[in-house]
């Protein structure tokens, strides 16, 4: 079902699907095709939209308010992909709010000294800086002394809005 309300297109979402990647080359049942097949309207699959690589995608839940300025709050669900390579170049430009700079900062889930944290990460030759999006949280300096792993890249933030 597709409605148009003002400038917003609404699609019917089918929440019941789970994406299945063909795994074993199992034979696909071939029966009589349904005469309705040609007329089925697009059903959108949230899994396909939010999960590009199901094998490397994990979900996380946000704690605390360190990303407040990005409208990311406690309880939001993060879709995290481990396969994507973190892009560590976009941070400074975003933070400095360069005019005309439109790129979103990449959020990275990091393992830092015994816990997961989601931050914007900037790499320097001997250390790296982890930025929050809340002035109450100054940047964290990470050196070789820390236990630090770039764990995955946040691809979507899912939030409840009612």
């Amino acid at each position: 079902m597709r409605n148009t309300i003002a400038n917003l297109e609404l699609f019917r979402v089918d929440p019941d699907t789970t994406e299945v990647v063909p795994l074993l080359g199992l034979p696909i049942m071939a029966g009589f095709p349904s005469p309705a097949d040609d007329f089925v309207e697009a059903v959108l699959d949230l899994n396909k939209e939010l999960v590009r690589f199901p094998e490397s995608t994990f979900l996380g839940r946000v704690k605390g308010d360190s990303l407040r300025d990005l409208d990311i709050e406690a309880g939001d669900v993060l879709v995290v992909d481990k396969l994507l390579r973190p892009d560590l170049s976009a941070v400074r430009e975003t933070l400095q709010k360069k005019p005309g700079y439109r790129r979103k900062p990449q959020l990275i889930v990091c393992w830092l000294d015994g816990g997961f944290t989601v931050k914007m990460v900037k790499l320097f030759p001997t250390r790296c800086l982890l930025y929050s999006a809340n002035e109450a949280y100054p940047p964290i300096i990470v050196t070789a002394e820390n236990e630090f792993i770039l764990w995955g890249v946040v691809t979507y933030v899912i939030k409840k809005t009612y």
Partner: protein, 416 residues
């Protein structure tokens, strides 16, 4: 060429995915009921911790070396296993899932098989954080040999291609005959008694002798070691011939109630597995036993096998017959440690042969369909048969269980 991809110390590696601070530390995973060691990280192996060692005997060692000990979290391991297999399926046209942590890959016709295999390995590691070793060779049996080298020799970087005749001969000359895939304990010791110590010794035996003494299995194995593939990839997993659900209880049970509840849950689990593979069963067995390791206790064990009048995969029907069977073998006055339900004579739903006078009740399958649908949406066993109850007395002990990070909304990783 065929590849064998094997996850290194799989269960221990799974625990590290969501707790990277465990990297480099000794990690062990315990069996159901936290009884015995069933997985060890390399660091734990280096401490001399043996497979199947009893956990309580190792407590002092665990303390002394700060060994990280976990209950087995099969939900997590199963999910990560699926992910590893999905990555492999992206890279290889055919994948045979051999076990929870092993798969054979079709790597035929690649110009640079080693380079490609290294890419596969990297993709698995990057996607899942699970380290794997991949051995590649002309046959499955040789791929197993190559895999061992890939895992043991750090110079291999997790990948070893065993292709030239010289390399094969060299590898087989140091490979113990008993470690060959499919040799088994019995043939292993018989061959050693005859002075056949290595895989190369075995390959050099006269084919006639092997066929006479070890049958077609031995013959195949020998040909595989010579590079002739006799075991193609098995892509379609045949339906299981027997399905069993059984657990040791977390504590000894002296009351009939929790035993009934446990058996009802085992029956429900088995029925669910039957439905999942679209099969039905004709025969159900219930068994029950006390703890044989406690010699001071009075011992009792018994089992009963019932033939169903009509084949079924309904939780309600199977629980009904399981209760009937249990009542016949249950004796009061014992301390029970373990029970289980096993079904056999399994056939596809579509081949269901109805008895003339006792046709299966079509309402059963409707109810089960609705129940499975609800449970699929709202979580495992949210809707259950009353007899399953909610008691926990019989539940397995899992005192050091990590969270089901990937399968439960309430147990997601928390990031701050």
């Amino acid at each position: 060429m065929v590849g064998l991809c094997d996850c290194n110390n799989f269960y221990a590696s799974c625990e590290r995915v969501f707790d990277p601070s465990l990297r480099g530390k000794p990690v062990v995973v315990l069996s159901n009921n936290d009884g015995a060691v069933i997985a060890r990280s390399n660091e734990a192996k280096a401490l001399g911790i043996a497979m199947t060692a009893a956990a309580f005997e190792l407590e002092p060692l665990f303390k002394q070396h700060n060994v990280q000990v976990f209950s087995s979290n099969y939900t997590l391991y199963g999910d990560l296993s699926n992910r590893v297999m999905m990555v492999l399926a992206r890279w290889a046209p055919k994948v045979e899932i051999y076990s929870i942590d092993e798969a054979f890959l079709d790597l035929a016709g690649l110009p640079d098989v080693e380079g490609y295999t290294r890419q596969i390995r990297q993709a698995v590691v990057r996607s899942t954080d699970i380290p794997v070793s991949i051995g590649v060779a002309m046959t499955k049996t040789l791929a197993k040999v190559a895999n061992k080298r890939a895992k043991k020799d750090p110079a291999c970087g997790g990948v070893y291609v065993l292709d030239s005749p010289e390399a094969i001969t060299e590898a087989l000359s140091t490979f113990e005959v008993g470690d060959l895939w499919g040799i088994g304990h019995q043939y292993g010791s018989r061959l050693r008694a005859l002075g056949v110590l290595t895989a190369l010794d075995f390959r050099s035996l006269s084919p006639a002798w092997v066929k006479k003494n070890m049958g077609v299995v031995g013959e195949r194995m020998q040909r595989e070691l010579l590079g002739y593939s006799c075991l193609p990839l098995e892509l379609i997993v045949p339906n299981k011939k027997v399905i069993c659900s059984s657990r040791s209880f977390g504590q000894m049970l002296t009351d009939p109630r929790p035993v009934e509840e446990a058996v009802a849950n085992f029956a429900a689990r088995v029925a669910f597995k039957l439905r999942r593979q679209k099969t039905v069963c004709r025969v159900i067995t219930v068994f029950l036993q006390t703890n044989f390791f406690r010699e001071s206790d009075a011992q009792y064990s018994n089992s009963i096998t019932l033939q169903l009048p009509v084949v079924s995969n309904s939780s309600m029907v199977l629980i009904g017959y399981a209760m009937l069977g249990l009542r016949r073998i249950y004796r009061a006055g014992y301390r029970y440690k373990k029970a289980g339900v096993l079904v056999s004579e399994i056939c596809p739903e579509t081949q269901m042969q109805l008895g003339i006078f006792d046709a299966s009740d079509p309402r059963q399958s409707k109810v089960m369909q609705v129940m499975d649908g609800l449970n699929n949406r709202y979580g495992r066993e949210k809707v259950r048969v009353g007899k399953q109850g909610f008691g926990r007395a019989w539940k397995t002990r899992q005192e050091r269980l990590t969270r089901c990070y990937t399968t439960r909304w309430s147990e997601l990783v928390e990031v701050s």
